[in-house]
Amino acid sequence: MTTTQLISVIDSEGRVAKEEHSLSKEELLHCYRTMIMVRAFDDVCLKLQRSGRIGFSIPNKGVEATQVGAASALAKTDWIFPSYRDFGMALYHGVTPLEMMHNMFGNGADTSQGRQMPVHFSFLDPIRFVSISSPIGTHIPQAVGAAQAMKLRGEKHVALASFGDGGTSSLGFHSGLNFAGVWKSPVVFLCQNNQWAISCPSSEQTGSDGFAVKGEAYGIPGVQVDGNDLLAVRKTVLAAVERARRGEGSTLIEAVTYRMGGHSTSDDPTRYVPKEELERWAKKDPIARFEKYLQRSGYWTPELGQRVMQEALEAVSAAARAAEQTPPPKLESVFTDVYRDLPAHLRKQGQEAFELASRKGDASAGDGKFPL
């Protein structure tokens, strides 16, 4: 059931044996621009974090093709249950850098009202990009449930759950895939094997030979795809999506890729990542590979590349400036959205907080910095 051969479309020189996709030039360039936007967003966030203007961010360098290739296989009516290293999927479907930057600054325009840490996005439109939580793997059975709801209603939509190599050890992975296997739910499980879970290499995450094989434990077909090859990811996810829409159940996809940065801005990967390994993977940069392909197709020139990056950086920087100037959430946001209706005890606690502030002055922010 498990395909043990790594699916690949674009070779390292950007060549494609046989044109297997039906993407127009515009669509291809949209994928490209999205990948560049991810990288630009990362770069700007890193600088913002290093200069103390935001507390934390999560780099995506190296995994852009997996995110964007997967997103390109989904319709707006599908649901995404993302991990924190997946925002390229949101960008692909039209979430703006500004919407994201509001979250990075945790300001009052953030969809989570500054309640969540940076990179814990939540979007409803233009696609369900379901509120990210930190605990690893919890969203996997949730995706199965959301998909099952679609199935019970006879809709042909699917849910995509994305998680890391580390995520396969979580409890949610086991229960999610097990339920999906029994229910034949329309879910696509996308395991992004980026080789590391913070400082733990994927070889210490499991004794199995890769992650795709884990599908068999649940009666779910598993496939391995070259995660640095946008077209291969798209093709593989699309096949899984179509299978799910046909009512044939779920698929586990292992996208083999590489986290070229640290785990987060709090992490120093030089403490544990072998230098040669990083160098080896740097040569497989998914964006460079896609550029070569586009160039062969006559859609790309170095100038275009520069311009796209320039535009992306400007858009993200403008978003950062705007987000930085957006006021923080209001004090009342601490108390709302715990329940739909504010219960009496929270009304009281909120009032007391306001009263105290007027009596004793406002609370002052500490200088606590996120440590990882």
Binding site: W79, F81, D110, T111, S112, Q113, R115, Q116, H120, S122, F123, L124, V130, S131, S133, P135, T138, I140, P141, Q142, A143, V144, G145, A146, A147, Q148, A149, M150, L152, R153, A159, L171, G172, H174, S175, G176, N178, F179, V182, T336, D337, V338, Y339, R340, D341, P343, A344, H345, L346
Partner: protein, 325 residues
């Protein structure tokens, strides 16, 4: 009106909700053809089909996790955890996810769902078929926690829980499943959440309790009245979270003498919250120490469970001590 046991009232509540609202689905371990190990879901698969009442693999994490996903996407799952003791594999989903979804998404996503589960002792179930874990969940903002003690409330609170826009943990006192009977309207009705119920009125002592401790407190109160002339008010808290705090303070102030009763271990139990609320907001009214009668701070034993669980004897003793202070 039909006279039903608490268990039948739960079953009736489920059927009533499923008849009215096609988005209600019921699932869990053995809830399908078998009808649940206590038969709370008996007949559901037959009436509503296995698309709406079905068994799952043996994973509470999976049950609650998938229920959250369904709730996010328009269904109204009412899941069963076979015994409350087995809810802990789902603790992460409940505490980290269900309770926090609305808050963390600024209201974009919410998880209206109900987790039903039998709790408490009295059936010789030992460590793992007797626990009362309500305090864990009451310390979790974002959840609602409901415990009925009569058939009428069981149906009415369950229907209110199912109609609620937020996740509700619905704890059913298994010791009362078949031992209490009462009149239950056949139609749909709701007992409003976060409103306590006065079981009995008396001016000497106020007893706060819930679930299977209500009949125990009633027995003790009868004895106190008959044997010592001490008249107690008994308050059934019913919804533990969000608690009717004003109501609690009001009833505490009326007598100035308070006993709090639950089965769960005393230390950091729900009773502590009641005592603390009163000690903070009604201290001036107190004429006696606030006494808790609770399970001991040990795991739940089997053979000696009747020593472990508060009985009328222990509650009466506390009432007498508080009344005569």
């Amino acid at each position: 009106m039909a006279t039903l046991t608490l268990l039948q009232a739960v079953n009736d509540g489920l059927k009533t909700a499923m008849r009215k609202d096609p988005s209600v689905v019921v699932f869990g371990e053995d809830v399908g053809p078998k009808g649940g190990v206590f038969l709370a879901t008996e007949g559901l698969t037959k009436e509503f089909g296995k698309e709406r009442c079905f068994d799952t693999p043996l994973s509470e994490d999976g049950i609650v996790g998938t229920a959250i996903g369904m709730a996010l996407n328009g269904l109204k799952p009412v899941v069963e955890i076979q015994f409350q003791d087995f809810i802990y594999p789902a603790f992460d989903q409940i505490v980290s996810e269900a309770a926090k979804f609305r808050y963390r998404s600024g209201g974009q996503y919410s998880v209206p769902m109900v987790i039903r589960t039998p709790y408490g002792g009295g059936i010789r179930g030992g460590l793992y078929h007797s626990q009362s874990g309500e305090a864990y969940f009451c310390h979790t903002p974002g959840l609602k926690v409901v415990i009925p003690s009569t058939p009428h409330d069981a149906k009415g609170l369950l229907l209110a829980a199912i109609a609620d826009p937020d996740p509700v943990l619905f704890l059913e006192p298994k010791a009362l499943y078949r031992s209490v009977k009462g009149e239950v309207p056949e139609h749909e009705y709701a007992v409003e959440l976060s409103k306590l119920r006065t079981v009995r009125e008396g001016t000497a002592v106020t007893v706060f309790a819930y679930g299977a401790m209500i009949p125990v407190c009633q027995k003790a109160a009868e004895q106190a009245a008959v044997e010592k002339g001490i008249e107690c008010t008994i308050v059934d808290l019913r919804t533990l979270l969000p608690l009717d705090e004003e109501g609690v303070l009001e009833f505490a102030k009326r007598t100035g003498r308070v006993v709090v009763v639950h089965e769960a271990p005393r230390f950091c139990g729900f009773g502590g919250e009641i005592s603390a609320l009163i000690a903070e907001h009604a201290m001036e009214y107190m004429e006696a120490p606030i006494v808790r009668v609770a399970g001991f701070d040990t795991p739940f034993p089997n053979t000696l469970e009747h020593h472990y669980m508060p009985d009328a004897r222990r509650v009466l003793d506390a009432i007498e001590r508080v009344a005569s202070f």
